[in-house]
């Protein structure tokens, strides 16, 4: 069920986007990674080991759940939730971390590095490193370490070393830069597990292929449960890995509308947002040509979102391409709208979504009442919200 397939697209480019903008020191390592990855895709042993772990260790397939009370409350389209929050470690991040960890092992690399913002990808990577017996360093901005103390401790419990990043804005963008710098210096022995569909080729394609299991399962489950494909698929987009994973198997099903949801933060009219595709422009960040939040001189602008996982000034290049071709549409949800959607899902369905996923829920809340009752929306519920409970408590106190 979770078999990964090689994309049909050519190497490294999605239209004008993607590519490989990295120091020369890394180019050969990326060539090696690309070769190893393509080989692994056709290797039965690798595929079986991955499928086995995804099933028995991570708990796949995750359910496609009909949100009956939410549907009734909104009074429009039928809403299904793809429950990635029920994965081991609480989010879709483990799908990719596990696959890349197996690839690292296959390539004979014993040391894993990763970047993390809120800590979800860091926790997933630390988990995988422990499970596969590899050493693990996670680069995390100092500011994020303060905001996400528990996740830092979690990673340490799992045996990883959390490296504080003090450069720049001390957040995800700088953690990524620092991980790349470390990789440049240790490329012979180190495997860099990037957590989202960005970075130099082959990462955007590889991470998407390791996340497409979300969409493959959704398609099969939808056909089983509704005997048809959904009308809409809605997923949040920071770097965009859960969205790319659920969108990808539906790209050629033109009757299925794909909606990516970015963080509008305190509002698109303010400077405090992370709506890269909605408000950004073309440029290169972390090795790939994509959309960015930047000024006229190409300096990167610090983004803002209540959700650390969406708080990134770039986005996966394939999303930039899907936006440009019109195959997917990108909308933006504010901090307040996401919080309201989080509360709604708690009350109506007994599910605490991650703040990231709450953005996708909020979009569905707007969309569903405008549709007919026989239409279907699938929302990718990418992660659970336990990690965010302290933050919400500190922000709003007990008011519910």
């Amino acid at each position: 069920m979770s078999r990964v397939q090689l994309s049909k697209k050519s190497k490294g480019r999605f239209g004008a986007f993607g590519g490989r903008y990295v120091p020369e020191t890394l180019v050969n390592a990326l060539d090696e990674l690309e070769a190893a990855y393509e080989e692994a895709l056709y290797d039965k042993t690798f595929q079986e080991e991955l499928a086995e772990l995804l099933q028995r260790y991570c708990g796949r397939p995750t359910p496609l759940y009909f949100a009956e009370r939410l549907t009734e409350k909104l009074g429009g389209a039928r809403i299904y939730l793809k429950r990635e929050d029920l994965n081991h470690t609480g989010a879709h991040k483990i799908n990719n971390a596990l696959a890349q960890g197996l690839l690292a092992k296959r390539m004979g690399k014993r040391e894993i590095i990763a970047e993390t913002g809120a800590g979800q990808h860091g926790v997933a990577t630390a988990t995988v490193a422990a499970r596969l017996g590899l050493s693990c360093k996670v680069f995390m901005g100092e500011k994020d370490m303060e905001r996400q103390k528990l996740n830092v401790f979690r990673m340490e419990l799992l045996g990883a070393e959390v490296v504080p990043v003090t450069s720049g804005t001390r957040t995800l963008k700088d953690a990524t830069s620092e991980a790349i710098r470390f990789w440049v210096g240790n490329v012979d022995t180190t495997f860099y597990i990037i957590g989202t569909v960005t970075g130099p080729h082959p990462y955007p394609q590889m991470v998407r292929d390791f996340q497409r299991v979300i969409g493959d399962e959704t398609k099969m489950q939808m056909l089983e449960q509704e005997r048809r494909l959904p009308d809409y698929i809605v997923a949040c987009v920071g770097g965009g890995s859960n969205a790319m994973g659920i969108f990808y198997p539906f790209l050629e099903d033109n009757d299925v509308s794909l909606i990516g949801v970015e963080a509008a933060g305190q509002g698109l009219e303010t400077k405090k947002h992370a709506a890269t595709l909605t408000k950004g422009s073309r440029g290169v960040l972390h090795g790939t040509m994509t959309y960015l939040l930047q000024d006229e001189f190409g300096q990167i602008i610090e983004p803002h979102s209540i959700s650390a996982g969406l708080d990134y000034p770039g986005v996966g290049p394939e999303h930039a391409y899907l936006r440009e071709t019109g195959r997917a549409e990108y909308r933006a949800i504010t901090d307040e709208e996401a919080l309201a959607a989080l509360r709604l899902l708690c009350r109506e369905e007994g599910i605490i979504p991650a703040l990231e996923s709450a953005h996708a829920i909020a979009e569905a809340v707007k969309l569903a009442p405008t549709l007919a009752k026989d239409q279907v929306i699938v929302v990718c519920l990418s992660g659970r919200g336990d990690k965010d409970v302290t933050q919400i408590y500190e922000r709003e106190g007990r008011k519910c």
Binding site: G19, P23, E24, T25, S167, N186, G283, E296, G298
Partner: protein
């Protein structure tokens, strides 16, 4: 006469003084925009053959902590690619004769406009361009403009380039920048032992001068690579010396003393080549 030559010719000529060329890297706008201009002149006086002028960037992927800090300080003065090019023009107006290579990440070039960068390089008297996050595979457009404007795009080659060495070295114009060890820019106590083997291979293919950079901080290290290269680049070690002299440089009464410290350091760096 200098202006009738192409940028590549001017750069190549800078290596032909019979000794290993010393190439300092400074960050435009560090420690302040005005002092950068005077620093360039001081470095020329102290024997620099060519100047690498860095454009400050918010996300310098190939740079270690020293250059990151210098970039952040320069950015706080609003020095971006436009101002860096203006500073280069100021350097020329105040008597800088050695070739200047602009070192910038790709994103500022894309936002400012690739052609506009070359036009303003021409106007400012900048001879070449080096983009550390633009491997040859992504460089087609910039290479075409480099050709058109006679200002070469300088390529880098690294110990991990392996089978790519021949492709990069034969495509090189102006000079070829050899990264001496793995990692980002920054001071190191030792150089990679396989370095001489790597440099010998590079020279086998390169038809332009070969300069070594990343991690060179002492005259001893410079002399180690001397017989295998035509020049050496010093960035982080120099910026650290500038930082040390910064309080003196910022005070008009002690400024000359500050420049003396830097010139002494730079002369010492060249003492064994």
């Amino acid at each position: 006469m200098m202006n009738v030559k192409t940028g590549a010719e001017r750069i190549i000529a800078a290596f032909s003084a019979g000794k290993q060329a010393f190439i300092p890297f400074i960050t435009a706008g560090y420690p302040t925009p005005n002092i950068t201009v005077e620093l360039a002149l001081a470095l020329q006086e102290a024997g620099a053959a060519l100047l690498e002028l860095g454009v400050p960037y918010s996300d310098p992927l190939a740079d270690g902590p020293t250059i990151q800090r210098a970039s952040a300080q320069a950015l706080s003065y609003g020095v971006t690619i436009r101002r860096a090019l203006e500073l280069a023009a100021d350097m020329r107006a105040r008597g800088l004769r050695i070739p200047v290579v602009l070192f910038t990440y790709i994103n500022p070039v894309l936002q400012y406009g690739e052609e506009r960068v070359f036009k303003e390089m021409e106007a400012a008297g900048v001879d070449g361009l080096l983009i550390p996050d633009l491997p040859p595979e992504e460089a087609e457009n910039i290479e075409r403009l480099a050709e058109e404007f006679n200002r070469p795009l300088i390529f880098m080659v690294a110990p991990t380039s392996e089978q790519r060495v021949a492709m990069i070295a034969t495509r090189a114009k102006g000079f070829l920048y050899c990264v001496s060890s793995l990692g980002v820019t920054g001071v190191r106590s030792a150089l990679d032992p396989g370095l001489t083997r790597f440099l010998a291979r590079v020279r086998q293919y390169a038809s332009v001068p070969v300069a070594v950079g990343f991690g060179i901080s002492t005259a001893e290290q410079a002399s180690l690579v001397a017989s295998y290269s035509d020049g050496f680049i010093v960035g982080s070690a120099l910026l650290e010396k500038i930082k040390e002299a910064e309080p003196l440089l910022l005070n008009p009464e002690t400024k000359e003393e500050g420049f003396c410290i830097i010139k002494r350091f730079v002369k010492q760096l060249q003492s064994r080549v």
